[in-house]
């Protein structure tokens, strides 16, 4: 597994240890990219800061909360109505964004008074909301404002409110991952154990590292509810502040994104004895295995199996329709952190695509271990790439599509490589059985959009064919397919609706009598 130095980075030789090509017969012990290190000066990174990782990734998906940044208003850029972590309370946390709007005078004279005023004003403006999170920024950290003291003062004056303080300034780590860590630890230290939950089931889990991107959490919660399992809290997508204070009462932590949330699972295990089960919510086979494992922990495997059978029968023919048309297409899997390992193997096996490269913007070496293990030989693995390396990789690998964020994604589009938004999705949710088919449909639409061919024609000089119509997606995707597949009556395109969450909201869940014989895991 040789290390790979990009030509464009020959002037930054330290980058040579940040990329490897997975060679035949080589193992993780032969080469592993460096990771979770400060970006090398001269390398224009695509990372976020530690404040962003704490607030915009983990804190703000909590739904019933005023999320306040204590800093310049610019720190809240890219939050107001731009994120896609939905909630079932009319997206309160997406509709409003709050900052104390620090200016130069506050840097000189301090901003604690102004912070207190802001907190009170915000609670008065939204009297139905009694919970708040406050996020330190670089500016308020450098002047030493004591946010905890101000929050405690307000809580004394307003006994019906509760405030969580996250001290994770932008400079508090090499990337957003530093902020993930800080908010995990801050939450368990300040809030877990301060509320006793209402229990509705004998089986209770925390669903951790799940951010309800376009409804992922609601899809997974639906499966758990169909099994009679109570999701005591979700950390943090569509999660409620007070539910998350009661995490200490769960029987099992079901962990999805270990990159952003393994810390709180580890602490819950050490402090409260709640075990950690890592799962994959993406892909038919990994999801089926995950549901079975959770059910097995509680001794209710048959409930999981019933869901798997029903969902597989409904959606597998549609996944296969796309797989037949995506086989052999080259994919660069370039997400932020966990999706490189959640997807690397199952998009290859279940959609037929070849993963020619994986990268992570803020992942640690552990994420690379997982990602490299799960992709096939020949794949190029890159840690914290800069834009020029991304361009060079695209020239070298000639991918058919890229799954990445919107910044590198727009760059890819300029060189006519289609991209899907791996963080926020295109037409999600992508978790769950139906969600996985929606992902396959987005991949198909991305690769076979006729626009890529049309855009190669320059109307100022090229001859524009007028004797035939435009090519459709089906004409492009089916050209090399066998007649058997083309005319199959079993395989079909996606037949779900525009909004799959609507159906979930209307579902009536079964009631299960308590299993008297089953010894519940004691907490």
């Amino acid at each position: 597994m040789p290390y790979h130095l990009f030509k464009c980075s020959e002037c930054i030789p330290e980058r040579g240890k940040h990329a490897v090509i997975k060679g035949p017969g080589e193992t993780l012990a032969d080469a592993l990219p460096l990771g979770y290190l400060n970006t090398i000066p001269g390398s224009i990174s695509e990372r976020g800061c530690a404040y962003c990782g704490a607030k915009h990734v983990i804190g703000t998906p909590m739904k019933d909360v005023i999320h306040m940044s204590h800093g310049p208003v610019g720190c809240t850029y890219d939050t107001w109505q731009t994120k896609r972590y939905l909630s079932d309370n009319d997206n309160f946390q997406l509709k409003y964004t709050y900052a104390t709007d620090m200016k130069e005078k506050h840097i000189i004279f301090g901003a604690e008074k102004m912070l207190k005023q802001n907190i009170i004003e915000a609670f008065e403006a939204f009297p139905a909301i009694k919970r708040m999170t406050i996020y330190q920024t670089c500016a308020s950290a450098l002047i030493g404002d004591d946010i905890n003291a101000v929050a405690n003062k307000v809580m004394k004056e307003m006994p019906d409110v509760d405030i969580f303080v996250c001290n994770s300034p932008g400079f508090g780590g090499p990337s957003q991952s530093g902020g993930h860590h800080k908010i995990n630890i801050a939450w368990i230290n300040q809030k877990v154990g301060t509320v006793e939950p209402e229990t509705t089931s004998e089986y209770m889990i925390n669903y951790v590292g799940e951010y309800n991107i376009q409804g992922d959490q609601e899809v997974m919660q639906d499966y758990f509810k169909r099994m009679g399992i109570q999701v005591l809290s979700t950390f943090t997508g569509n999660g409620s502040y007070d539910d998350l204070r009661a995490m200490h009462r769960a029987h099992l932590n079901v962990l999805e994104c270990a990159r952003s949330a393994e810390y709180i699972c580890n602490e819950l295990r050490v402090r409260y004895g709640i075990p950690r089960l890592d799962i994959d919510g993406f892909g038919f086979e990994p999801l089926s295995s995950s549901l079975k494992k959770v059910a097995m922990f509680f001794g209710i495997e048959e409930r999981a199996q019933a869901i798997i059978d029903e969902e597989t029968a409904r959606w597998k023919p549609e996944l296969e329709w796309y797989k037949a048309r995506l086989a052999g297409k080259k994919v660069c899997l370039w997400p932020g952190g966990s999706k490189l390992w959640h997807w690397a193997n199952c998009i290859h096996e279940e959609m037929g695509v070849d993963v020619v490269s994986v990268y992570t913007k803020f992942g640690h070496q552990g994420d690379m271990e997982k990602g490299i293990s799960r992709c096939e030989e020949g794949a190029l693995a890159i840690d914290d790439p800069n834009e020029l390396e991304g361009m060079e990789a695209m020239e070298m690998l000639e991918p058919d599509i890229i799954f990445t964020g919107k910044r590198p994604g727009e760059v890819a589009k300029k060189v006519r490589v289609p991209y899907l938004n791996a963080h926020a999705y295109h037409n999600g949710p992508w978790k769950g059985f139906e969600g996985w088919v929606r992902f396959a449909r987005d991949v198909y639409n991305g690769i076979y959009s006729p626009i890529h061919k049309l855009s190669l024609l320059d109307i100022s000089k090229d001859e524009i064919p007028v004797d035939r119509g435009f090519e459709t997606q089906r004409m492009l995707s089916d050209v090399h397919l066998s007649e058997e597949i083309k005319n199959s009556t079993e395989l079909r395109e996606y037949t779900g609706g525009y909004d799959l969450l609507k159906g979930l909201k209307e579902r009536v869940y079964p009631e299960f009598p308590p299993k008297a014989n089953v010894a519940l895991p004691a907490v």
């Binding site: 193992t27 012990a29 602490e267 950690r276 089960l277 271990e369 997982k370």
Partner: protein
């Protein structure tokens, strides 16, 4: 052609690396516990021996072990055909190989971090 013991171990390693997540916990002490407990329980299941699963922690190891044992039986017919003592030997070698790839031979610099 019959595979060698080493080839069989690599087959078993490949399933874990491609399909499982439990082996990638972030610290050395975690990985040691995960490898020890899950491979032990998988071996017991494959050899029809009793498995202890009284505490939540043991139960959690057990569910990953059940999944792994089923996957091995489904993918590799030799797992159910060979002598149990030979299987135990292969599982011991599997554990050694995992410990090397993920702990003693690992290039992951975070494994030795004293804190989470």
């Amino acid at each position: 052609m019959k595979e060698t013991s080493k080839e069989r171990v690599e087959q078993l390693v490949d399933v874990i690396m491609k399909k499982c997540l439990w082996q990638f916990h972030s610290r050395t002490w975690d990985r040691e516990k995960q490898n020890e407990n899950i491979i032990l329980k998988t071996t017991q299941i494959l050899c029809d021996e009793p498995v202890v699963k009284e505490t939540p922690e043991e139960k959690c190891y057990w569910v990953d072990a059940v999944w792994l044992a089923n996957a091995y039986k489904e993918k590799f017919p030799w797992v159910t055909e060979i002598d149990k003592e030979d299987l135990k030997q292969i599982m011991r070698e599997l554990k050694e190989r995992l410990d090397f790839l993920l702990i003693t031979g690992s290039l992951n610099a975070e494994l030795t971090d004293p804190l989470y």
